[in-house]
Subunit: 378 residues, 2 copies
């Protein structure tokens, strides 16, 4: 009886075993796909999630100096993140025109951009102080103001309404006053001088009696050659040599009063930045700092060889702007900036911070950096 009954249950046992088998295999399959998910989830916090970003820039692709900074930034970031964040750098005009970089990153067309804050003065007047202003801070002083003088907090405040996070990402150091085909021996020679000089520098030139002209970089050579302009500013020997301006201008003037330490910017779309895990955010910031120092180092080391080349092999004549011209330009700068600061309350606030820092650091540099560099000449 027992045996008979048992045998009667065999089909049921087989069915149960089949059901268990199906259940086990089923849960195995689910488990496998589930463990995939777990790995991916860990990836988002750690090693696996990949970000491919577009970086739009205001520079021709790979332009020496200026155009190298975004490449340096992207390379350092890729290296540190082991490829988790891979940034493709686009030159001006490749996705958006140079002057479209701010809007493109603000609107998320590109996740990140590289340029200079003073290009956006039409939209954000306060922005000029985060690049450079005439008779403003040099590179060391700019970094001091931005990182320990409240400048960076203000910059973030100014860009916040545009969903942009700004970072310092390059510095040219003191630029040259520019290329001239007219000798400047006194303030009188500045009257009516037709010079290509954009932005606040141009307004200062006008205030001092000159005529500021706006011409794109690509037309400078011809404009100087044909006498459409008497003079133009550009950057510094290492950059200027590449542009060939020494072929069409006689005199190379110093010191560059209008751009004493131009800070370039990395701008990051806020949503894109916040989508990154914290470690990648830290790498983005540190890569900008790296590019910021790297560019100044390169200019500092390479400008003199380019200048010597110009003088020794291209007959460039180096000239210093006379004291009365520099004095007038300095006075004009104060007038123009005081007026400019009235653009809006934010600009006034930034100007106040900038001015206070400049006064303090200038005072200290009288007895430190400046006193030393002058003592070296004794």
């Amino acid at each position: 009886m027992r045996n008979a009954v048992n045998r009667d249950y065999y089909p049921l046992v087989i069915l149960v075993l089949l059901a268990v088998l199906v259940a086990v295999i089923g849960s195995w399959v689910v488990e496998r796909s589930g463990s995939q998910k777990v790995e991916l989830r860990e990836g988002a916090l750690g090693a696996q999630q990949q970000y491919r970003w577009k970086m739009v820039t205001t520079w021709p692709k790979n332009l020496p100096g200026l155009g190298r900074a975004p490449e340096t930034f992207a390379k350092k970031l890729k290296e540190m993140s082991n490829g988790r964040i891979d940034i493709r750098v686009y030159g001006a005009g490749e996705i958006v025109p140079a002057m479209g970089v701010f809007d493109a990153v603000s609107e998320g067309i590109a996740e990140i951009g590289h340029g200079a804050a003073y290009y956006w003065k039409g939209k954000v007047p306060a922005a000029v102080f985060f690049t450079t202003v005439p008779f403003g801070l040099n590179a060391q002083e700019m970094n001091g103001w931005l990182n320990y003088g409240g400048g960076m907090e203000l910059w973030q405040e100014v860009y916040a309404p545009f969903d942009l996070l700004p970072l310092a990402g390059g510095n040219t150091g003191v630029q040259m006053a520019g290329w001239f085909n007219k000798e400047i021996n006194s303030l009188q020679d500045m009257q009516g001088l037709k010079m290509r000089i954009p932005g606040i520098g141009g307004e200062v030139l006008n205030q001092a009696g000159g005529t500021a002209v706006t011409i794109p970089g690509g037309e400078l050579y011809t404009s100087l050659q044909t006498g459409v302009i008497d003079a133009t500013e550009w950057v510094a020997p290492y950059n200027d040599l590449a542009l060939g301006l020494h072929e069409v201008a006689q005199y190379y003037y110093y010191p560059g009063w209008h751009e004493p330490g131009s800070t370039l910017e990395v701008i990051v779309n806020k949503q894109a930045y916040e989508s990154l895990p914290q470690d990648l955010q830290a790498m983005v910031r540190a890569s900008a700092t790296f590019a910021n120092q790297d560019m100044l180092d390169e200019y500092t080391a390479r400008n003199n060889a380019a200048l010597k080349d110009m003088i020794d092999n291209h007959g460039v004549q180096l000239r210093r702007l006379p004291d009365d011209v520099l004095r007038k330009l300095k006075q004009s700068s104060e007038i123009v900036l005081d007026e400019y600061a009235k653009s809006d309350p934010m600009t006034a606030k930034v100007y106040q911070s900038f001015k206070a820092f400049k006064e303090s650091v200038t005072q200290y540099h009288h007895i430190s950096e400046q006193a030393y560099i002058n003592a070296r000449d004794l």
Copy 2:
């Protein structure tokens, strides 16, 4: 018959099904532990492997300025690596004494260290050029030489026999000439001046007629107070205020001719560095660059407030070293350095590179940084 035969096979079917079930569950278990292994293996290349390093330093733990740089470095590195590399910073004397840092990292007692290369001149004469020398490069120029003038390659060559990788990891900017209880109105007043000033600066002082004395930082206060010394150098207002030297010295002299832009160093044990995956190696280098700029920014922004506090609230009298004294110190520096460069062929090679870069960058700064900072005073 069919039915009877089938029923006879039921136990066999059940056994087979049980076997299959065991096999499936078994392989499921193996699969699960296998996927664990895969995750761990990926971890070793990427997110999971953890490095806990000891960083020995030549500074008292958390000393303002100098002692903050290693903390800044470690914090930035931890943040970027998401804790994969976790560095504990030890102050001087905690694991090894300040002057034992080079050997400790060289021998792998600690994986990494922070200090200043000129401390090791007894062992490696060429090292002094990687910190600062009298009438040498300022901070911007040092960074230019190290990163684009061949300086860093030489530094690596000099440290390679000790299994050390050097990185620039902080800069004080131009230091002050120091605290004096004797007024210096002419070269005559330098004769017999008992001043605490270590290293090459001390040799230069001796050459110029003074008497260099070596006294540890902790004894400076009492030595000035009791007249054991007439003068001492330290760093700059932001650091000096903390040490309280203004309480025991009357005059604060500038400019600091002996340390015009001291670079601090991060040193990494070669085996420890090579044990890191490439992304962490890149983070170590970038964190040093970050600390290098961060420290200069902090000094640049904070020195003036400290100086004002000294003058306004502590009666400190600021004085400039007379021209003839500076001129003599400059001449003496050249004599001492030319002699010092004969220490060994490597020192001669480094000196040659340093000197050539200084000549070139000084030339360029005459028309850029220096010309601008002076034009600002017109």
